[in-house]
Symmetry: C3
Subunit: 165 residues, 3 copies
Amino acid sequence: MPDAPANDAPYRLINDVVFGEHAVVYSFTNLYGCHIGARSRIGTFVEIQRGATIGADCKIQSHTFICDGVSIGDGVFVGHGVMFINDKRPRATAEGGALQTEDDWELLPTRIEDGASLGSGAVILGGVTVGAGAIVGAGAVVTRDVPAGGTVAGVPARIIRSSAP
Amino acid sequence: MPDAPANDAPYRLINDVVFGEHAVVYSFTNLYGCHIGARSRIGTFVEIQRGATIGADCKIQSHTFICDGVSIGDGVFVGHGVMFINDKRPRATAEGGALQTEDDWELLPTRIEDGASLGSGAVILGGVTVGAGAIVGAGAVVTRDVPAGGTVAGVPARIIRSSAP
Amino acid sequence: MPDAPANDAPYRLINDVVFGEHAVVYSFTNLYGCHIGARSRIGTFVEIQRGATIGADCKIQSHTFICDGVSIGDGVFVGHGVMFINDKRPRATAEGGALQTEDDWELLPTRIEDGASLGSGAVILGGVTVGAGAIVGAGAVVTRDVPAGGTVAGVPARIIRSSAP
C-alpha cells in the first residue's frame, strides 16, 4: 500500500495514513491515522481522524468531517459538509471540571455500508448503521439505523422510501 | 477584467477565475473556472467550482460550497456553511461499479436571483430558483423554487411569508 | 496573557488574539481580534471573528464559525460545523444598493453559558442565550433562548427535556 496519495496538491496535512492505489486527496485537508481505499477521492476542507476507515471507490466531498469509529464501505458517496459524531453526550469537561480525555467517554461506532449515499449537510449520529445502497437526504439528521436500500430525510431523519428506486 | 482579486491574502488557490473590479477573496479558498463579479467578497474556507457564476456586490460567507451549474445574481447574500447541490441522485460509482465520471449524471442548474439572502447552514438542492429578494432561513433545506420576495424556512423549506417585510 | 497558542501547527492565521495559558489552536484556522481562554482547544477549519470571546476549558470543534457578538463561557463544547449568526436580516447590500458596511446593521449579541454543549451542525441565531449546562442537539436551529440545563433539538429547536439527565 502506498503511504501517499496518487496526486500532488498544496496545503495538505497527511500523517500516518494508509492509501489504496490511485487514491486522490485535494488541498486544505487534514488526514491522520486513517485508511483511504483505492481510487477514493477526498475533497477540500476535509478532516479524517485517526481510527476512521474509508473503502474503495468512495467520494468524500468538501467540508466533511469523519471521526474515529466511522467505517465506510466501498462505493460510498459522502456529500459536502457532512458531519459524523462518535459520542453520545459530548461535553468539554469531565465531572471534575477538567477537560475530557479519551477515558471520559465511550466511542460509538458508525458503519456506512457499500454503495450508500449521504446527502450534503447531513449529520450522522454515533452508533448508527446506514445500510448498503441506502440514501440519506440532504440536510437530514440521522439518529437511528437506515435499512439497506432505504431512503431517509428530515430532522430527525425518517424513512420516505423503503427500497431504492 | 482582472485575473486576480483586488486584495492579497495567504493560502488561496485561484485558477482560471475571472474577477470583476475590486473583488475580494480571503484566505483558505479554492476557486477555479468561475466568474466573481465586481466588489463581491468571498470568505474563508470557500470552494467555488468551474462553471459557477457570482454576480456583483455579493457576499459569500465562510465555509460555503458553490458548485458547477449555480448562477448567482447581483447583491446576493450567501451565509456561512451554505451547501449547493447540482445532482439529483449523487452516487460515488456508475452502474458498472466504476467511479462516476461527468458522463454519468445530469447537471441540474440552480439560479439565485438579485438581492436574495440565503441563511447560514442552508442547503440548496439542484434545479431550484430562488427569486429576487427572497429570504431563505438559516438551516433551511430548499427543495423547490422560492418565489421572488418570499421567505422560506425549515426542512424541507416551506413558505412562511409570501412577500418581503 | 500569552499572545500565541501553546502549540505549534502549520497554516494558521492568528492576528490580535489574546490567549489564556495552554490554549491550543490547530491548523487551517483564521482567528482575529478575539479572546481564547486557558486550556481551550480550537479545531481545524475554524474562523473566530473580532469581538468574540471564548472562555476557559472549551472545545471548539472543526468547521465551526464564531462571529462578533458571541460570548462563550467556561467548559463549553461547540461541535463540528456549528454556525453562529449575529444579524437579524442579513443582506449583501444596503438600501441604496451599495455593499453593507458596519453601520447598516445591528449586532445581536449571543451568549453561551458555562458547561453548555452545542451539537455538530447546529445553527445559533443572533440574540439568543443558551443557559448553563444546556444541550443543543445535533443539527438543531436555535431561534430562541434555551433554559439552563434544558435540552433542545429540531428545526426550529424545541425543548425535549427541561433539565439535564
